[in-house]
């Protein structure tokens, strides 16, 4: 065998998110039939593949080339937990964990919000005892994982993101930071946990999974589907769906029962006048364009807006309409009524934007959680809300997903885009079980505007089966 000579000094190493196999020539492919993951890299004179393949190629390589192959990859550190304070898993959580373990510690667990996905992840960490990276969608969630890891394991996890880069055997990060930094830290972990995994398959973010050697992977979500269909890729980025708990099973059991109340509000005369004027301007512009160019679309308009002041005015009119909907003065009045009606019950308000959240906060002097709220203030506000010091909490969109909110019984949506996922996640926020009290979700929408359409779209989700319409 001619390859034997060169096999004497072969090495496998981690190179910025990829694996490099040195010591073989271009003609001596390390690929085995049916799997051509290795590509010859003439720039460095070695074979290269994505780090994600490490688990599957490691044994083949050793089998084929040992003892000539030296594996230079660092072994993920073993972790000994200072303590483990994990509650007894509920049957469905135990079921999920067992299914994941059966699949070789690779795969996705789908459970509705509020049914304890985090505990499943902690049970997996407690069992595997290996260096683990937790990837969360936003900073808030990253800090929340950090807090809960500290409470559960007594372990002060490293943080990568929010301006910090402190890599430890147990580290928490965000999808955006994972994309940027995985080429540096991709060889250090044995287990990856993707919280709200539906964020992973995006064109860039998926690299967080591809650039890591971790053999064990756990994906968590309540809503795996993506409108672009890319969720199929989670099967190889993470592993197959190992457990799927339908939403219906959660309703009325772990989660509280709930009502959905829609409150239409009217724009005031001034707002309505501007709104109609904007609508007319846009319609006018589109009609005149479509006379010349049939099928002229919103995208065409955006493209033209740089060259054509008319198109730009139409574009501006559209954004103005949106902001009128979001910030209609009447919404503040309705909010006052809801606060009166539910005085003494914990209420969360979801605003469509930072500006609206701040407006509500300034009007009623109630605390906000915004994306840039710092760790200490966030803690104080959440704790104050949990202990009843604050009766109301205003959020922009950051509480949309997964952030643990101390139980609330009333939620008010006064703005935001309509999508099935957001609706489910928001419900999960208010529907946490507490005694027998029913939760109420209010949707405050402007009448005769696009918002009504969005609200209808939201309600198509099975979470909104029973909706009451009410005028205040």
């Amino acid at each position: 065998m001619t390859a034997m000579e060169s096999q004497k000094r072969m090495s496998l190493s981690f190179d910025r998110g990829t694996l490099l196999l040195r010591g073989l020539q271009c003609r001596e492919s390390p690929n085995v039939p049916g799997s051509s993951v290795w590509v010859w890299d003439a720039r460095v004179g070695a074979w290269r593949c994505d780090a994600i393949h490490y688990a599957s190629i490691g044994s083949t390589l050793n089998h084929k080339f040992s003892p000539h192959l030296r594996d230079d990859l660092p072994q993920p550190a073993r972790v000994s937990w200072p303590k483990i304070e994990l509650p007894q898993l509920r049957p469905e959580q135990a079921e999920a964990l067992a299914a994941w373990t059966r699949e070789g510690c690779r795969g996705q667990v789908i459970m509705p919000t509020g049914t304890g996905k985090t505990e499943v992840a902690f049970a997996a960490m407690a069992e595997t005892k290996v260096a683990t990276l937790v990837v969360a969608p936003v900073r808030d969630l990253m800090y929340q994982w950090h807090r809960r890891i500290l409470a559960t394991f007594g372990y002060d996890a490293g943080i990568v993101g929010d301006g910090l880069s402190n890599i430890k055997p147990i580290t928490v990060t965000t999808y955006d930071s994972a994309y940027i930094h995985m080429d540096k830290m991709g060889a250090g972990f044995g287990l990856l946990i993707f919280d709200e995994e539906h964020h992973l398959p995006g064109k860039c973010r998926r690299e967080a999974a591809i650039l890591s050697t971790a053999a064990m992977r756990l994906g968590l979500t309540a809503t795996p589907e993506r409108s672009d269909g890319l969720h199929k890729d989670l099967d190889w980025l993470i592993g197959p769906v190992v457990y799927n708990m339908p939403f219906k099973r959660a309703k009325g059991s772990t989660l509280a029962d709930f009502d959905v109340v829609r409150i239409p509000v009217a724009l005031n005369d001034r707002e309505q006048a501007t709104y109609d004027q904007c609508s007319r301007a846009i319609r006018h512009f589109l009609i005149s364009r479509r006379n010349d160019i049939p099928g002229y679309s919103w995208r065409d308009l955006c493209k033209e807006s740089g060259k054509d002041p008319q198109a730009r005015h139409a574009q501006k009119a559209y954004y103005l309409k949106q902001s009128i909907e979001n910030r209609a003065a009447e919404k503040l009045r309705v909010l006052e009524d809801i606060f009166r009606l539910h005085n003494g019950r914990k209420t969360i308000v979801f605003a469509g934007s930072n500006a609206m959240a701040i407006e509500v906060s300034k009007r009623f002097l109630v605390p906000t959680i915004l994306s840039h709220t710092r760790k200490r203030e966030r803690l104080a506000v959440l704790q104050g809300f949990a202990e009843g010091q604050f009766g109301v909490l205003v959020a922009n969109r950051v509480l949309d997903e997964g952030v643990d909110v101390p139980e609330a019984k009333v939620a008010v949506v006064i703005g935001g885009q309509g999508s099935t996922r957001q609706a489910k996640q928001r419900l999960g926020r208010v529907l946490r079980r507490s005694g027998n009290a029913r939760a109420t979700l209010y949707e405050v929408v402007c009448e005769n505007t696009k918002e009504v359409m969005r609200s209808r779209k939201r309600r198509r989700s099975d979470a909104y089966e029973r909706t009451v319409h009410r005028r205040i």
Binding site: R43, R312, I358, L365, V366, L370, R376
Partner: protein, 405 residues
């Protein structure tokens, strides 16, 4: 640098054309540049969102101005500014205090009644009294740490309107490169600088010699060989200013359109972009400069070219200080070692061994030669300046060896 959201690129006929403000077509932008610079110069103490509104107002009646261009200008101006960042979290403390005190009056109503007696205005003025400041002021300070509400503290600015426009043009080029998957540079000059800065930007290269002092270099990142990826777009963007400062190059970057179609960004040193980096120094040391002067551009059929070639072996590159090219085709390199330490000499020796199949002369200071040691025949020694005569003898010897072998 801009964000992708501020990038304007036009795609036509397979080409990517980043937004560019030209003398010819955008002369009037000099006025705008002057105006928006003065908004920031005179805007100390103003909120970021107010400044941005003012910038927007400057362009309100300009027919040729996409929203993204305005946002890009705002970003460039913000990059040259310092805003009050509230590092000690004053606003956060104030919020907690105000909201805690207001909590027991919740809900603050417009019209008090028997059940809810806390009227908004009354409570607010009561709180203002307690905090000993007018309510307006308190309300302003309440969210002063939020980006949009931060106040401008300093503006380092831009020397003049033209400089702002050229910074804008380069920034749009860079933003276009965020979408790039690879970059190919064909270069005849400043080869060493180009390769060095690409390495600093953590790019891998693939070098092909096209002819005397002419190279094609493909830059990409580790994973590029496995799949098309935009991972290294930021690296290309960081490398660009160094390339713009060089001369004698052409560049083609492969980018993906938003519709996932391939397109090319094509650029060369004659395109008139201005880098914020100075052009590379012609000589590394006075020793090299005086030698080049003494030797002249040509001597006895030997042409002298500074850093004219790159020797390469995978990712290891070596660009000797001088190339002597004889009209018969023989090429000899000269590397002058000025500064030296034992470690540096060892490193140089290793480099020379790696490229031993090339004719490389090395000039060493006499002091660096151990006493009694006989330097190898490719070693020239010097005291203060390199002598021409022994050099010419060595060159000729190499040439005859070359022709006889």
């Amino acid at each position: 640098m801009l964000t992708s959201e501020q990038s304007i690129v036009e795609y036509k006929a397979g080409r990517a054309v980043p937004d560019r403000l030209r003398q010819k077509t955008h002369r009037h932008y000099l006025d705008y540049a002057e105006k928006i610079l003065s908004v920031y110069r005179n805007g100390i103490g103003r909120q970021r969102r107010r400044l941005h509104q003012q910038i927007e107002a400057v362009f309100a009646d300009e027919p040729d101005c996409p929203v993204r261009r305005i946002q890009a200008f705002c970003k460039l101006l913000d990059d040259g500014s310092a805003f009050q960042a509230d590092p000690s979290g004053e606003a956060g403390k104030l919020r907690l205090e105000v909201f805690s005190q207001a909590a027991r009056f919740h809900p603050l109503v417009e019209q008090p009644d028997r059940l809810f007696e806390h009227e908004e205005k009354g409570v607010k003025s009561q709180l203002a009294d307690k905090l000993a400041a007018p309510w307006d002021q308190i309300e302003q300070a309440l969210y002063a740490d939020v980006m949009a509400y931060q106040k401008l503290e300093r503006f380092a600015g831009c020397p003049d309107p033209a400089a702002l426009l050229s910074r804008y043009n380069v920034a749009q080029l860079q933003a276009c490169l965020y979408k790039a998957e690879s970059m190919t540079v064909t270069a005849t000059d400043d080869l060493k600088t180009i390769v060095r800065y690409a390495k600093l930007a953590r790019l891998l290269h693939e070098i092909v010699r096209l002819g005397p002092s002419k190279y094609r270099i493909v830059f990409s990142g580790p994973a590029s060989v496995l799949r098309g990826t935009r991972r290294y777009g930021v690296n290309f963007a960081k490398f660009l200013p160094a390339l713009l400062a060089c001369k004698g190059w052409k560049m083609t970057a492969l980018v993906k359109t938003p519709w996932n179609q391939p397109a090319k960004l094509v650029l060369c040193d004659k395109d008139g972009f201005t880098s914020h980096l100075p052009p590379p120094d012609e000589f590394d040391s006075a020793l090299e400069e005086s030698f080049a002067k003494k030797f002249g551009p040509e001597r006895n059929g030997w042409q002298l070219i500074r850093e004219g070639e790159i020797l390469y072996d995978h990712q290891k590159t070596f660009s000797p200080d001088f190339t002597f090219r004889h009209k018969t085709g023989t090429q000899v390199f000269l590397e002058i070692v000025g500064f030296w330490t034992p470690e540096y000499l060892a490193y140089k020796r290793q480099t020379l061994q790696q490229f031993a199949h090339h004719k490389i002369l090395i000039a060493l200071p006499e002091k660096s030669i151990r006493e009694g040691a006989t330097p190898g025949e490719n070693i020239l020694t010097y005291k203060t300046a390199l002598k021409i005569k022994p050099l010419m003898e060595t060159l000729e010897r190499t040439r005859t060896e070359n022709t006889t072998t």
